[in-house]
């Protein structure tokens, strides 16, 4: 009996943090929260937009049952509104414009008649208000002592096809509510953040004589060419310290994975198969995973840098043509049906390099371009369903997916 208990205990510990196991939480067990608006500046349209964004963010942090009623009250009222008296938490905020026309937000979180958290925020331009809402959600998540959601404040960079051979590279928040076009008018694909601070990025220009990798500093607007290759050039991954890149290049029409040292500008070929080897991702400092068709169909493999031996990572799915890594986890895109054009064609799956579990993350539509958040808490991906392009967020530990549609164009690629 004791042995059995010890076994169960060890089993419980070893799988407690495994993201490949689905967590099904009871909705009714989540605490309730209501939001009260005490704004004194700005028109109703703007107040409504901010309220909706904040409620959406509170839903995405997946810690509360969020009440959707937009109720207005005075910031300094000591008690919560009558309608909200049964709520576990009430978030009350006040937006006001100061003399320099900056947007100020004061907020307090009320729990059982007590103010448990107060914060103040200020930004110079009100059109980036959604980033304040994301920061508020981040701070409340921190207060609730839930695992960090650093990703909610980060910026998304994506390319979209506008017309054939014309694309735009766009900076956005994770909900696509804020959008700022960074590069337009050309044919530019595969944008990739160059570092953790997100102050510069790489992208591929297909307007040059040969596909060329370019680097742009967002703060200065300075653009420079890094390296060119006949046929194909993509920056697939940037190492955590930003010093090494994994590139796909194809001199002589043969796509292979290369490692590029930013300081010395030296490249070294890593993959050696005569078919397609693309989409290199750093698993750790010594190992990469990549997509290869060496078995006659695309699948995910790993390889030690400097070694020629290759290990198959995925044994499920007929065609696994894209992947992203974080720690021991690999998320990959898989074509499941043998009918190439059925409605339910591409889904995302999660595996761990330490266990044999496979978790299916999506169910309908074309789901592709998975990318882990910087903290591994969430996965961002592109969903194309019935000619609508969206960005999706999967909260791994909460078993929830959220979709944010793109207003026009088709998403080509993105980074987070």
């Amino acid at each position: 009996m004791r042995i059995l208990l010890i076994f169960l205990f060890v089993f419980g510990i070893s799988y407690a943090g495994d993201a490949t196991i689905e967590v099904i939480k009871k909705v009714e067990s989540l605490p309730s929260i209501a939001v009260e608006d005490s704004s004194i500046s700005y028109d109703n349209t703007f107040r409504e937009s901010f309220f909706k964004t904040l409620v959406a963010d509170l839903n995405v942090i997946s810690l509360f049952n969020v009440d959707r009623h937009h109720r207005k009250t005075h910031f300094n009222d000591t008690s919560v509104m009558v309608e909200n008296k049964d709520m576990d938490y009430v978030l009350r905020y006040k937006m006001f414009q100061d003399d320099s026309e900056a947007l100020n937000i004061e907020l307090k979180l009320i729990h059982r008649e007590n103010v448990v958290l107060t914060k103040q925020y200020k930004i110079n331009r009100k059109n980036v208000f959604m980033f304040v809402a994301h920061t508020i959600a981040y701070d409340i998540n921190e207060y609730m002592q839930a695992p960090s959601i650093e990703w909610i404040k980060r910026r998304v960079i994506f390319s979209r096809n506008v017309t054939p051979l014309k694309t735009e590279i766009v900076l956005a928040d994770y909900t696509l509510a804020y959008q700022h076009v960074l590069v337009k008018g050309g044919f530019n694909v595969f944008p990739k953040w160059a570092n953790k601070n997100q102050d510069s990025f790489y992208y591929t220009s297909l307007d040059e004589k040969k596909p060329t990798l370019k680097h742009v500093n967002i703060k200065t607007g300075k653009s420079k060419s890094i390296i060119s290759s006949d046929g194909m050039m993509v920056c697939s991954d940037v190492s955590r310290d930003s010093k090494k890149l994994l590139l796909t290049m194809a001199p002589n029409g043969q796509p292979d994975v290369y490692i590029y040292d930013v300081a010395s500008a030296q490249t070294k070929k890593l993959s050696n198969y005569g078919g397609i080897d693309v989409n290199g991702q750093f698993l750790d400092d010594e190992t990469i995973v990549f997509v290869s068709d060496r078995l006659g169909y695309p699948n995910i493999f790993s390889q030690k840098i400097g070694s020629n031996s290759v290990e198959q990572m995925v044994y499920y799915g007929k065609s696994n043509s894209a992947c992203s890594t974080h720690g021991d986890y690999i998320v990959y895109k898989s074509r499941e049906s043998s009918n190439a054009f059925s409605a339910n064609t591409f889904n995302l799956h999660l595996i761990s390099t330490k266990t044999d579990f496979i978790r299916r993350l999506t169910a309908t539509g074309i789901n592709e371009f998975p990318k882990f958040s910087i903290d591994g808490d969430a996965i961002i991906f592109i969903k194309n369903y019935k000619s609508q392009s969206s960005i999706g967020i999967i909260r791994l530990n909460h078993n929830k997916n959220y979709l944010f549609p793109l207003k026009y164009g088709k998403l080509q690629a993105m980074d987070w």
Partner: protein, 184 residues
């Protein structure tokens, strides 16, 4: 309390310092307008007689070159491929052979650019690589017909250059193709 307020303001400022007005847009259209041909024509009209006649010669020769190239490109039919495949189908062999004949004959002065394209099923790198392998198959076939390797360049556009945007199988099959383009 004051500390919390100040730290949150500082943090908010840090977060938004990157999204402020100082993100300049790299606008490539500006550069493209500069190379537009109309500008050259207007310039050649204002210069002196001798210069303008030289310019006209230059213009007419490059014009005829471009017309010649455009006409020849009409003779070069796109090569189509099966889903997820990059081998040349038997019904496409004639098009490749014809391409080789044009490349060695009327178009022998030009470089041949092979543009690989895919259908909309996937925007990832693998799809780009598939487009490239299609271009590479055509390149190998042209070389075996005697076209010099140094005259052929390749590029893949993935799914970004569709000729048809309907959601039908027929349409997708038109997008899985290699186009021939001529470069001076």
């Amino acid at each position: 309390m004051k500390k919390i307020i100040i730290s949150s303001v500082v943090m908010a400022l840090l977060v938004f310092s990157g999204c402020a007005d100082k993100e300049p847009v790299v606008d490539q259209r500006a550069q493209e307008v500069v190379v537009a041909q109309e500008v050259d024509t207007v310039n050649s009209e204002v210069v002196s007689g001798e210069d303008s006649s030289i310019d006209e010669n230059a213009m007419s020769s490059s014009d005829s070159n471009e017309m010649n190239m455009a006409n020849l490109e009409k003779d070069l039919s796109s090569v189509y491929f099966d889903f997820d495949k990059f081998n040349i189908r038997s019904d496409m062999q004639n098009r490749v052979a014809n391409g080789a004949t044009v490349a060695k004959g009327a178009a022998s002065a030009f470089t041949i650019k092979l543009e690989g394209n895919c259908d909309e099923w996937g925007s990832d790198e693998y799809n780009f690589a598939l487009g490239l392998k299609r271009a590479s198959s055509v390149k190998k076939a042209l070389m075996s017909e005697g076209v010099s390797e140094t005259r052929i360049t390749m590029v893949s556009y993935g799914e970004s250059n569709p000729v048809c945007t309907d959601k039908t199988q027929e349409c997708w099959s038109k997008n899985r193709r290699v186009d021939f383009k001529l470069l001076p």
